[in-house]
Amino acid sequence: MMAVTDLTRRSVDRRPLTTAGVLRRLPWWIAVIFLVGVGVLWVFPFVWMVSASLKENAEVFAAGLNLIPSHFAWENYIRAWEDARFGQYLINTVIVTLWTVFLVTARSAFCGYVLGRYRFRGSRIIMGILLATLFVPTGYTIIPIVQISLQLGVINSLTGMILALSGAANVAGILIYAGYFRQLPKELEEAAVVDGAGFPRIFFSIMLPLATPVTATVALLTFLATWNAFFLPLVFTFGRPELRTVSVGMQAFVGESAVDWSGMAAAGVISILPVVALFFFLQRYFVEGIAGAVKS
């Protein structure tokens, strides 16, 4: 699809420049100017954040519209990293995110494979339950999640947070996997069975490698959701501030030193940069994962 649009666009661009051609394209250039203008506004909050993270606090409060700092105050980053403990928070977030991505992707692949590939007693019921709970908000399940974590003794620990994040509603991954595995041809298994491969062999050495693009999409969407998660990490770190993730840490930072705007801006940059970088490199998979909701 992408290739097709690219091709048409290039052929349009190669048309020789005549007055009529310019006139015909004029509406598009007006659209471009408009979209650039709105686009600048769109990214302004991030530009402002980066700018504030490099200014002295006094300069931020002076509220000039100049976005270029008079000198680069890199010490804001040191303050955010050490005094506000964002170094620690970042490590926590990385640990929690990587484990959750691993657990969710693995269990979604397993479950999606079985549900997409096999009919067995209870498969329809399981599918029904998953679909019915597709949109359960965290606010609904949060109290029992905390209680059960208390009973298991994993409240106030990263382990508890990882388990809760891996178990909380993320049905979409299962559905994407199930949809993908369902449409693979039956002959794949039949050939493998003839070769003497068992169930786990078929899954791990044939099916899972085939589903690599799906795995990338599910892993990325889970990464995004976990890195940005706020509600669960918030209630899991009430008693242990040193276990906060970046999103919880930011709010705590406001509570501790509400006047250190440039420090907080620096903390914000530290927290957001990893996801944004990942997004720029793997944009396609992000977009495909989200678009999948409409297509299915």
Partner: protein, 291 residues
């Protein structure tokens, strides 16, 4: 045997952290309990009676609905307009625009919420600086005034999650084969004709699906609300999730029974919206099939 082994991780984790909590909420909603002590006193429907009698619960319910009505149409309509423009092969830089308009989606909501507090600050925030430079005297206290807070958060919310709906629409537009347009062009149809006679009818089923997905998402605005306003000022932005949070975690003596009753009612509300959604998706499917 392998089948069940493969299902096990999901059954355990999802069962423990999603299915069990859904069921347990009902049980909790019938007891009086502070969460610390082991004793739970069964009180019947007393919690529900209290929740129903609490004007702040109804306020939070109203805010949740109001928020939905403010942001869902804005997200659906504005992103549709942008998707139409971005989908055209004639638009230069279309890839760059997609990236830019999608960017806020990937950023951490809780952090954006805090940064937005600064950006909208009445004294030193850049938005008010610009307003003053344009000649508006005195800063507007966007988040500190209960009359403007909800609208302000709504605008930020639309900005933050606009990209998701945009991607939905772009995916929908891609289902329309380009040769239909080619054929129409050969028949002499203009841009407007093609839009009203091809694009709009073909997208109608998607309108239902996309609206409902967007509506469902607006019910999960806790992160942004909690970090931008915390539900204030004077409860003017307190959505139900913040109401639940306040009673269960932010109170000096947590009232888990009361919070659970509110959560069950919220869950019922989400479920009803989900049912409408299911019905909508089915009729959308029928529309596509009948075509």
């Amino acid at each position: 045997m392998w089948i069940w082994l493969f299902l096990l991780p999901t059954v355990v984790l999802y069962g423990l952290y999603t299915i069990y909590p859904i069921v347990a909420s009902y049980w909790y909603s019938f007891v009086r309990w502070n969460g610390f002590s082991a004793e739970k006193e069964f009180v019947g429907v007393a919690n529900y009676r209290e929740v129903f009698a609490d004007p702040q619960f109804w306020n939070s319910f109203k805010i949740t609905l109001l928020f939905m009505l403010l942001v869902a149409p804005a997200r659906v309509i504005l992103s549709f307009l942008l998707a139409i423009v971005l989908n055209s092969p004639k638009l230069p830089l279309s890839k760059l625009f997609r990236t830019v308009y999608f960017l806020p989606v990937v950023t951490t909501t809780a952090i954006v919420g805090v940064v937005m507090q600064f950006i909208l600050d009445p004294a030193s925030g850049p938005v008010n600086s610009i307003l003053q430079a344009l000649g508006f005297e005195g800063g507007i206290n966007f988040l500190g005034d209960s009359r403007t807070a909800l609208v302000t958060v709504s605008v930020v919310y639309v900005w933050k999650f606009f990209g998701i709906t945009l991607v939905y629409w772009l995916a929908a537009l891609q289902t329309i084969p380009q040769d239909i347009y080619e054929a129409a062009r050969v028949d002499g149809a203009g841009v407007v004709r093609m839009f009203t006679n091809i694009t709009v009818p073909l997208l109608k089923p998607f309108l239902i699906i996309i609206s409902l997905l967007t509506i469902e998402e607006t019910l999960r605005a806790f992160d942004l609300m909690q970090t931008m306003t915390g539900g204030g000022p004077f409860f003017s932005t307190e959505i139900i999730e913040i109401y639940i949070y306040r009673w269960a975690f932010a109170a000096t003596i947590p009232q888990l029974g009361h919070a659970s009753a509110a959560a069950v009612l919220f869950g019922a509300f989400v479920f009803v919206v989900g049912l409408i959604q299911l019905w909508g998706v089915y009729s959308a499917r029928r529309m596509r099939r009948d075509r």
